[in-house]
């Protein structure tokens, strides 16, 4: 059976010949028509459609978008803010980049619909600092949309007004975590907040109720309103609705970004057919399916999952459908949609050393386990690679990771320990035997990963 076809909703115009990122082109392709429809609807209807759609956040946690909107404190009398998470910094993830650079008005339309539905008068797009052109493109797009009365005071002749401002980060992964992002937007060190009590829906930006949504999530909102929540919910699989953007990088013939109905494609189809399989002469060894924080999958391992009717089924890595729930059942996650592939040329100690360096560099340093643990894990793997590996290092790494996960202020604690936990659990032999591996002569041309 051939792999399912891509279903391009969000990426409909990405890389399309002749499609440009200006307002005129967007409007030519039917742009802002859904916003025009939205402002004629009661806000509650829009929220209902999003609830019905089953849309789950595309930023990493997969939290149902409609539920999130439902949690917003609307009684406080304080302004409600929308913060668009365009920090795209989970390694392996590169989807929002293309929306921002090539189709910014799609995002703005989604933002305005979400803002209208939630009575937001001020939205901020927090874009990572390393997208300088992206920030300029968004600013230009906002200016165009404002001039055309899609954004700003009394949009489309209604009494509804909403401003959008673009805010640039400056090189910090933790600004992707929603409360770190809020602190950063407030001009402080992006130290994630403790929850409770600082749930953004109640005490977010400036201690006001705040919605934080990913770029892709907000784009979906536009299409949900266009086709209706129920119709949208039919795309994909139950509880895993709609399409999602998958980003494939690493050791495949055709890395890139693809859009599929959630769960319609398996990991094997994605890698072997869509991405053309392994590089010549190589075989797949391992894959991280949802951004570098997701637990690694080892080709050859199998997962026995319970079916609803009580029976069970066994899946190989290749057979895993790319949906939130199945990936979670297999002990990993769909996360941000970043699929990182490693072939048999890779030594897992070295790959982990690379990942650990990332997390040690990005830990905000606020809470003890993550601050000290992430650096410790980095130091262990770096020592193994550059100086001396001990047979007990794998067990030590796992134990350090176990002392972090679940005990920190923010989910970075899990993000930085899941790689170590899963690498050591699944490739324990490589950690045990690394001292010997290092001495092998053929290692001279090994990939440098750290």
């Amino acid at each position: 059976m051939p792999a399912p076809q891509q279903r391009r909703i969000i990426f409909k115009h990405i890389d399309a010949p002749g499609y440009t990122n200006d307002l005129a082109c967007y409007v030519r392709h039917g742009g802002y028509e859904i916003l025009k429809k939205a402002v004629t609807l009661p806000a509650a209807t829009i929220i209902d459609e999003v609830k019905k759609s089953g849309l789950r956040g595309r930023g990493g946690a997969g939290f149902p978008c409609g539920v999130k909107w439902g949690l917003v404190d609307r009684k406080s009398g304080k302004p409600i803010y929308l913060v668009v998470n365009a920090d795209e910094s989970e390694p392996g993830t590169f989807k929002d980049r293309y929306i921002i650079h090539q189709d910014p008005h799609q995002l703005l339309e989604g933002i305005m619909i979400a803002s209208f539905a939630n009575n937001v008068k001020q939205a901020y797009i927090y874009i990572r600092g390393e997208f300088p052109h992206g920030a300029r493109i968004l600013e230009q797009a906002v200016a165009e949309a404002r001039a055309a009365n899609f954004v700003g005071p009394n949009i489309l002749g209604t009494s509804y007004s909403c401003e959008i401002f673009v805010h640039r980060g400056a090189g910090a992964y933790i600004c992707g975590e929603e409360t770190g992002l809020i602190e950063s937007l407030e001009g402080k060190r992006p130290y994630p907040r403790i929850k409770p009590p600082y749930f953004p829906a109640v005490l977010g930006l400036y201690q006001c109720p705040t919605i934080v949504n990913n770029v892709e999530t907000l784009c979906h909102v536009k299409h949900i309103l266009e086709m209706g929540g129920d119709t949208y919910a039919k795309i994909g699989t139950p509880n895993n609705t709609g399409t999602r953007l998958l980003c494939v990088s690493g050791h495949v013939k055709r890395p890139g970004y693809y859009e599929f109905a959630v769960g319609e494609i398996t990991l094997g189809e994605l890698l072997n057919e869509v991405c053309g399989g392994p590089l010549p002469g190589r075989t797949f060894k391992a894959v991280i399916p949802g951004g570098s924080s997701a637990k690694i999958l080892k080709f050859g391992e199998t997962f026995t999952l319970k079916n609803k009717d009580g029976s069970s089924r066994t899946l190989t890595v290749e057979e895993i459908p790319m949906d939130f729930d199945t990936l979670a059942a297999c002990g990993t996650m769909g996360g941000s949609g970043g699929v990182i592939v490693m072939d048999d040329s890779v030594n897992m100690v070295e790959a982990l050393a690379n990942i650990n360096a990332f997390y040690a560099h990005e830990s905000c340093g606020q809470c003890t386990p993550c601050r000290e643990g992430s650096l410790w894990m980095k130091k262990i793997t770096a020592r193994m690679v550059h100086q001396q590996a001990r047979s007990e290092d794998g067990a030590l790494l796992k134990s350090v990771a176990d002392q972090i996960a679940g005990r920190t202020i923010c989910a970075f604690g899990e993000a930085c320990s899941w790689p170590t936990q899963s690498f050591v659990a699944k490739f324990g032999d490589e950690f045990k035997g690394y001292a010997e591996t290092r001495k092998e002569p053929k290692r001279a041309d090994a990939l440098e990963l750290v």
Binding site: F94, P132, A170, R189
Partner: protein, 170 residues
């Protein structure tokens, strides 16, 4: 008062205009910290202690509030750098496709080390974390421009380009 400090900062009039405009984006002035630091760095090249104090005064903060922020974010620098800033992605997807070699190629071409200004003053090379373009790894950000699939050969080509631009300028 702010005029007096700004003249000592030697910011361009356009920068000052944008600074005053961007502060209006937020109900709380402190939020303008990152935008102001970006604008100043774009104008002056780096963030001096004087600039930190200036931003603090402008936003009615204490200098430590701004200092805490400047030192947290790797994109802000407290010292001048080379004429061009070469940021090579270090993270996994790029490393899997030779990112470390790419970085070494740049270092070699400019006879320098990561984090230093090259002897000719042309570049500062740096490793940075994932640039969200992993599908076209290895990637390199040179000033504001992203370069994709930068293997060793392409790194050499880019280096040559920078050098020839430099010699034309001289």
């Amino acid at each position: 008062m702010s005029a007096a400090i700004s003249s000592s900062m030697n910011l361009k009039p356009a920068t000052l205009l944008r600074i005053d405009e961007v502060i209006t984006h937020y109900p709380v002035k402190r939020s303008a910290t990152l935008p102001l630091l970006h604008l100043i760095q774009e104008d002056v090249g780096y963030i001096s202690e004087e600039a930190i104090t200036w931003v603090a005064t402008k936003l009615e903060l204490q200098p430590i509030n701004v200092y805490e922020v400047v030192t947290f974010y790797p994109m802000f620098r407290q010292k001048p750098i080379g004429r061009r800033h070469i940021k090579v992605c270090r993270t996994l997807s790029c490393a899997l496709l030779g990112g470390y070699k790419t970085c070494e190629a740049f270092e070699h071409a400019f006879n320098t080390h990561r984090g230093e200004i090259s002897p000719d003053g042309e570049v500062t090379i740096e490793f940075v974390e994932c640039l969200a373009s992993c599908g076209t790894a290895p990637v390199v950000l040179i000033d504001d421009d992203l370069h994709e699939n930068v293997d060793v050969a392409k790194a050499k080509k880019l280096s040559d380009q920078i050098k020839s631009e430099a010699s034309q300028r001289r």
